[in-house]
């Protein structure tokens, strides 16, 4: 019995043993030694005949003259196919597939890119793009990106405001690492409180956005990822100096305390103490400023257990002084002879993140975020006083899992927020507490090919906004190669912080007129808007070079809005919308790799932003209908990144912008209906000396375009026509800056 069984088992061997091939498979290990590889697959292509190598790396496979291609493979190694002409013994060495030592990666990644795959219309700005404009904080980071407009808000504070889809920043959800951060009291100046060197990358999502981070976003979402202790340089130093009197110093120190725990200390300081009045209107062209900003991050990573955790502590102190040249805050505070302004801000923040991914089931994860901030601003503008204190708590818990398989993902969770506002507007006190709890559910489907979509809904209970649903939908379809067609729609709801969002009104002689309707926020109703959009992206080759064309159309319709009405030059009024208010935007963006290392990005934008004011349906003031943007960047190539030159030029053209009505002002203080169009050009050159050291030199507004008299009635700042809000272009004119970056790893 036994012998028969043995015979049956061995029979095939005997049959084929007349023709067989013997061989040896080895691997080249990291020490460049060759060692026998056990368990490698050896089989004839297009057959089921094969074997595995033994302990000593040897193998024997049957052979027939019809077999030509012998495949040798092993996980983690490059599969090789050998052409066998004659039956001889084989010796083969497999190479590890991650052994890319000899391969030079010559494809340059674009510094900003719109995703072809995501259901949302997301543009990612990498840290490389952020270096294109060396200066200086988050609000200036967008100057080389056409999706976001950066405008001056007024002629006093030097603050820049961003806009997206024709809407100002309060309608954009701005998060740092997905925790809402620039909101409430930090809305006006918050972007300038995030130093540029702290930012690792920025994601810009056009349209309603995800339901996970809350119900407030209307035009879109901007998320800034900050540098992390484990991936940032061990030491980083950046010094900057500009002829406009601004100096800056950024230092990063990162250390690894154990294999799981790392920490980083990031310090930013900037200062401007030189007074400039180039346009001779007796007012400073830019405020004097002083900022110290410190952040400490802790990062805990335990990959075996699937744990990732962050703890952030941050403190900021910012002081600005603006107004007339001769103003001395010690003696002239709130005086009626010399006009001056001071804005002092202190902010403390602590936030924690905790993430758990089950190492055995990686598609299930849990994330928890908790944040607390205390923001305190004391300020006065001439004789107007404005103080705001805002304490905020935010907590969010997200659970990720799949339904049936990973093409169907769900995210669900809860969040709770608490906001406490104490404001002083001249002698009037406004106190407000906001509490909300909400739950959300988001489903995303990806067929791994042409279609994916994300549909989310959340329900929130808010003590002032009531109980409400927030639906949002994003979908992407790829009809043919290198294309993406997207649609989105969603609802947003928010409480307008009328004073802090419109702080420029304090630097005028206008009367503040809040037309209460008995609503819950300053007597006004919450703002509600629907946003919808379609977008098309096509990648193609133009004269053999990569090019992308993006066409975006987005519309926002307000169901209710708190209208900010500047149409009477002696007043600024706030009232609930009666009638229509909408913002439609169209953007055509074209980027093209002109030559090796030379990239062009150009965009045209059209905005139609109109609101029903008490005096009629009008275009939103200081928003140009037509805009044109172009950026040309060149980066020379070298093997080790040494001795490289980088050049960058950014051109912006803005069409005419409507001034709010000055019809009833005396002749001398009347403005035309529209501002002239303007164009600006910025240049920057960077010389990389080594991986550790580089120097940059730049020119802002090199053609010296300025708005001649940005302040109305500057000769009589306490008169009834004093106004600093009619700003459509640069005030300072051209300026040059230089700086250095030093990295040590």
């Amino acid at each position: 019995m036994k012998s028969i069984l043995q015979l049956i088992i061995l029979l095939p061997l005997f049959l084929f043993s007349q023709k067989e091939i013997k061989g040896l498979v080895m691997e080249q290990n990291s020490n460049n030694e060759r060692v026998p590889l056990l368990g490698a697959n050896v089989f004839w292509l297009n057959t089921t005949l094969g074997t595995m190598t033994a302990d000593d790396g040897t193998f024997t496979v049957p052979y027939d003259t019809s077999y030509k291609k012998l495949v040798i493979s092993y996980i983690g190694f490059r599969t090789d196919t050998l052409l066998i002409e004659t039956p001889k013994s084989i010796f083969h060495v497999l190479k590890a597939s991650d052994d890319l030592g000899e391969v030079t990666v010559s494809v340059r990644k674009k510094s900003s890119a719109t995703s072809f795959l995501s259901s949302q219309n997301i543009t990612t700005i990498s840290s490389k793009e952020l270096l294109k404009a060396a200066c200086c904080n988050l609000s200036e980071s967008f100057e080389t990106n056409p999706s976001i407009d950066v405008n001056f808000t007024d002629a006093i504070s030097g603050t820049k405001q961003i806009r997206m889809l024709g809407l100002t920043s309060p309608y954009i959800l701005i998060t740092t690492e997905n925790i809402p951060s620039i909101r409430g009291a930090s809305q006006a100046y918050g972007l300038s409180f995030v130093p540029g060197t702290w930012v690792e990358s920025i994601q810009i999502t056009k349209g309603a956005g995800s339901v996970i981070n809350g119900f407030e976003s209307i035009a879109g979402q901007i998320n800034a990822e900050l540098v992390k202790p484990t991936t940032d340089n061990k030491i980083f130093i950046n010094a900057y100096g500009s002829l406009n009197g601004r100096t800056e110093l950024n230092t990063h120190f990162n250390t690894q305390l154990s294999d799981k725990l790392s920490t980083g200390l990031y310090i930013h300081a900037d200062n401007r103490s030189q007074k400039f009045d180039r346009n001779n209107d007796s007012f400073l062209d830019m405020p004097l400023a002083n900022q110290i900003n410190i952040m400490n991050r802790w990062q805990y990573v335990n990959l075996q257990k699937g744990l990732i955790s962050f703890l952030n502590v941050r403190y900021l102190n910012d002081e600005k002084q603006a107004g007339q040249l001769s103003f001395d805050p010690k003696t002239d505070r709130l005086s009626t002879s010399v006009w001056g302004s001071e804005i002092d801000t202190k902010r403390f923040e602590i936030s924690g993140k905790f993430g758990y991914v089950n190492p055995d089931i990686p598609y299930r994860s849990l994330g928890i975020q908790v944040a607390y901030s205390a923001h305190d601003q004391d300020s006065y503008f001439g004789t107007n006083q404005y103080d705001i204190n805002h304490k905020s708590m935010y907590s969010n818990m997200v659970y990720n899992t799949i339904i049936s398989d990973s093409r169907h993902k769900i995210k669900t969770g809860l969040n709770a927020t608490y906001d406490r506002y104490n404001e002083l507007v001249n002698s009037q006190v406004y106190n407000r507490n906001e509490r909300s709890v909400g739950g959300f559910f988001e489903y995303s489907f990806d067929n791994l090919d042409a279609l994916n979509l994300t549909a989310g809904v959340r329900i929130d209970h808010h003590n002032l906004l009531g109980t409400f649903f927030t639906p949002r939908l994003h979908a992407r379809y790829t009809p043919w190669e290198k294309s993406a067609f997207r649609v989105s729609f969603g609802r947003g709801k928010r409480a307008a912080n009328i004073f802090t969002e419109n702080q420029k009104l304090f630097a005028t002689s206008r009367q503040i007129n809040v037309q209460s309707s008995g609503g819950t926020i300053y007597g006004l109703d919450p703002e509600i808007a629907w946003n919808y959009g379609v977008s098309f992206l096509q990648g193609f080759n133009l004269f053999g070079r990569k090019a992308d064309l993006t066409l975006d159309f987005y519309g926002t319709n307000f169901e209710n809005q708190v209208v900010v009405d500047y149409e009477n030059p002696y007043e600024v009024s706030f009232y609930n919308l009666e009638g229509a208010s909408y913002a439609n935007s169209f953007q055509a963006e074209f980027s093209w790799n002109l030559m090796d290392y030379l990239d062009l990005k150009t965009a045209y934008k059209f905005y139609d932003v109109k609101t029903q004011y008490a005096s009629g349906k009008l275009e939103k003031p200081l928003t140009s209908q037509h805009r044109y943007f172009a950026n040309l960047s060149y980066e020379a190539h070298s093997e080790k990144g040494e001795g490289v030159w980088k050049f960058d030029a950014t051109f912006n053209w803005l069409g005419k912008q409507r001034f709010s009505s000055t019809e009833i002002s005396p002749q001398a203080y009347q403005l035309p209906m529209y501002s002239p169009s303007i164009s600006t050009l910025n240049l920057q050159v960077t010389k990389v000396f080594s991986e550790a050291f580089e120097i940059y030199l730049g020119a802002e507004n090199i053609t010296n375009v300025t708005q001649k008299s940005p302040i109305l009635s500057s000769e009589n700042p306490f008169g009834p026509n004093f106004d600093t809000t009619f700003v459509y272009g640069p005030i300072f004119g051209s300026t040059f800056y230089t700086g250095l970056r030093y990295k040590l790893n």
Partner: protein, 117 residues
């Protein structure tokens, strides 16, 4: 004979007890060359009912699988991959399935492999 029967029974018992894992993990080597292959391999994996997650690495050729052992097996998944035109350790795609692949994905040809390096 009794022992044989017992062994066979025990073998089945073993399979059943271990077969309960709803989130079984497996790693399979699948031949392919590009991102199009990746799409095809992952889609083919999901064709098998019970597969929860499938991620293929274009460099290592490793397909990481999570699946419900009650519903399917590695062999079943591999068979479906071979049907889609991709060779695995234990299954080789038929010529017909292989020929149906996009020209850029012909992973058995040296020239195509060279192109993707």
């Amino acid at each position: 004979m009794k022992t044989i029967l017992l062994t066979i029974t025990l073998l089945f018992v073993g399979t059943l007890t271990y077969g309960q894992n709803k989130n079984a993990k497996a790693s399979v080597e699948v031949d392919g060359v590009c991102m199009m292959c990746k799409k095809r391999i992952e889609k083919a994996s999901f064709k098998t009912k019970g597969v929860k997650s499938a991620v293929w690495n274009v460099d290592t050729h490793e397909l990481k699988l999570f699946f419900d052992e009650n519903k399917t097996s590695v062999a079943q998944i591999e068979a479906n991959l071979a049907a889609a035109g991709h060779d695995t350790k234990s299954f080789v795609a038929s010529d017909k399935a292989y020929e149906a692949l996009h020209p850029c994905c012909k992973y058995r040809e040296a020239a195509v492999i060279e192109d993707h390096k």
